[in-house]
Amino acid sequence: MDFNDTPEEAAFRQRAQAFLAAHVQPRAGQTESLQKRLSDKEYMLAAKAYQKAKAENGFAGITWPKEQGGQGLAPIFSVIFGQEEGKFDAPAGPFTIGLGMCVPTVIAFATDAQKERHVGPALRGEEIWCQLFSEPSAGSDVAGLKTKAVRDGDDWVINGQKVWTSGAHYSDWGIVLVRTNADKAKHKGLSMFFIDMKSPGIEVRPIHQMSGGSNFNEVYFTDVRVPNSQMLGGEGNGWSVALVTLMNERLAVGGSPGPDYKEIFEWAKTMPGQDGGTLAEDQSFRQKVADWFVRAEGYKLAKFRTMTALSKGQTPGPESSIGKIITANQLQDITHNAMEAMDHFGIITDAAHAPSEGVFQQSHMWAAGLRIAGGTDEILKNIIAERILGLPGDVRVDKDVAFKDLPSGR
């Protein structure tokens, strides 16, 4: 047992560190972050320039085949780059979904000419992609989507609504999952297209989140025309194509999505406790710190085990599903405890008054969404139960029924 890189991995890591040091700044406090300091437009320019630099220096498409402009490296190198990049305030966010999920789907199903046209610009940060799957009535059960495409000559005409689309407002292209046949059973009547996000009839509206911010969009399709040639994987095969997209979900390599045991424990040394000392001296609080430590370290170490498997050339399975269950719930629990520990003062979100610039309050809001985004706690637990433990799937009432005949409720 050791925690060392192989010589090849160490050389790559060193190269990554040198690249990052030359192009981005180390992480700083909340308010100093690039995204907070820059306007949306400036941030996007910085992000595109950063992605271009990654492509020029061999850090874009690390695991993609060389003939697609990738580096043809094993997944472990992608994880290593992610670990190093995570130490910096790198503007990589706008490309996460496109390069992580959408373009790999294009690579898997598009024609050579289409790949020639699209993969390079995406890798170099010239074009951004978004993923249009979820709908108001199709979240966890995404195959229940209703947005439909109807054939008209060489085109298909799309009508419907997508929701929770990250980056739709700044994306150039998107992959969209639609229903092309409502007479077939739910999973069998779907098809996937890639689509120009500037097409007439596409309207993007920001979602006003409970946190007050707007990080996601609703996307409305009204008589949007898309050429048949932009269908990926063939008519009626949309669900299998979507599974390929979802399998490409990036291996979680980042740390905690917000304040963790370290931050709350440091902060607690400055907070009053119940017995005249500091909060960090309170017995009940210390017991919780131990629990948080064990979970945070446990998850970090579980990722080391995944890296070990990757390093040996094995493909990690659904085990990584535990990650978000642990981190999202831990974030909610830690921020809840921090706010309650402040008593009445804990309600203040005003950065001028709230301790730590209100990071606990902000993260407490965000945590509620994190438990839902990208697979709810419940769906992830179903995945663990069915795909790891091998428990039977739920009873399906929709399997052999035409989609148009299914009850849909709200």
């Binding site: 579980a302 070990t308 179903n382």
Partner: protein
């Protein structure tokens, strides 16, 4: 990154599982459970000695196999899975490891070779009443040559040949070795929550004893022993937790209610997924403890505390929810669920309960941050 056991260690684990599934079947475990006179399974103990496991981590010069602590970890996991009714943990994790880290050359030569052969059964006698045994509260006294007092409960105290006793000595406490076949020793079996492992009260009346380690250093030495044992116990707990999860999963696939497999209900799926997550957290922390233990890393105290807390949590959850998944059958004597529920509790309270370890963890975290 190579944060995993080696192929050889995995092979040893596989062999151990095969061996224990035959030699430590539930019939063997239940024979000890059902017979109050039976402290352990002597045949299994002999077989384990013959496999060389008792001396797995004992250097060859003292009659062991000279393997390392990582090999002990994989064996521990399988011992935990099989609920082996033998004084393995007391002898190997506590007694042998204590002699290894603190014994004189003479003590090592006198004890370790015999222990590796199965001729020495060790136990650790620290507790005298509820709460953590501390020097200030001890009633048992060591006078330099003999020990007097009563220890309760002592896991495997009624079958052990030797005990490591924490006793008041000079200004603090010392750990002393007592040969239980000598004069002034009375062992009396007592009933506990986990009858598959025997427990006793040990009463010492001027029983001859020899010092282990430095005089007055008993509390610190005991903590060092506990830190090492905590990692090995964590692997036993993981083995037990995995057995519970396997059992519950298997039952959920075979049991029908409302004309469906109960494992198709999300209430059951999510319960089992929670067990899986807790187990993964425990396993990962235990791996780190194993690394720290085997490499004598300064991280051991913190890693051991984390491994122990996570393993106690995982085993408690897995053992109670295994019963719950089995429904009424889970509450019967005949179904094995209760054996794990019992063992989970024993392993959680011996060597210090989780709440004590949580405070230790935070103190160690503070020390690390200060360093």
């Amino acid at each position: 990154m190579n944060f995993d056991f080696s192929d050889d260690q995995k092979y040893l684990k596989e062999q151990a599982r095969k061996f224990l599934s035959e030699q430590s079947s539930m019939t063997v475990v239940r024979a000890v459970l059902n017979d109050e006179q039976k402290s352990h399974d002597a045949g299994l103990w002999k077989a384990i000695a013959e496999m060389g496991w008792l001396g797995a981590a004992i250097p060859e010069e003292f009659g062991g196999l000279g393997l390392g602590e990582l090999e002990l970890c994989v064996l521990a996991e399988e011992m935990g899975r099989s609920l082996a009714p033998v004084p393995w943990a007391s002898t190997v994790y506590f007694f042998a490891e204590a002699i290894k880290i603190a014994g004189t050359e003479a003590q090592k030569a006198a004890i370790l070779p015999k222990l590796a052969e199965g001729g020495v059964i060790g136990c650790i006698a620290a507790s005298e009443g509820p709460g953590e045994p501390r020097a200030a509260n001890l009633k048992t006294v060591f006078d330099g040559t003999s020990v007097t007092g009563m220890k309760v409960p002592v896991t495997d105290g009624d079958c052990a040949t030797h005990a490591l006793v924490l006793a008041k000595h000079q200004d603090g406490a010392s750990l002393v070795i007592v040969d239980l076949s000598g004069a002034g020793v009375e062992a009396k079996a007592i009933k506990t929550f986990d009858p598959t492992r025997s427990h006793a009260t040990l009463t010492f009346t001027k029983a001859p004893a020899q010092l282990l380690g430095e005089a007055g250093d008993g509390e610190a030495l005991l903590q060092r022993i506990y830190d090492r044992a905590a990692v090995l116990l964590a692997f036993e707990q993981i083995g037990g937790s995995q057995a519970c999860l396997d059992m519950a999963t298997d039952y959920a696939k075979g049991r029908y209610a409302f004309s469906r497999q109960i494992g198709s209900f999300q209430a059951i799926k999510h319960k089992l997924a929670d067990m899986y997550v807790a187990l993964e957290i425990a396993r990962s922390n235990a791996f780190y403890g194993a690394w720290a233990l085997s490499s004598d890393a300064p991280e051991l105290p913190l890693a051991a505390a984390a491994a122990r807390i996570a393993a106690c949590d995982a085993y408690y959850l897995a053992s109670k929810e295994n019963i719950q998944t089995h429904g009424g059958m889970g509450f019967t004597w005949e179904v094995d669920c209760h054996l794990y529920y019992r063992r989970a509790k024993l392993l959680a309270v011996q060597a210090g309960a989780p709440s004590l370890w949580k405070e230790k963890l935070v103190r160690r975290l503070e020390m690390r941050n200060a360093a």
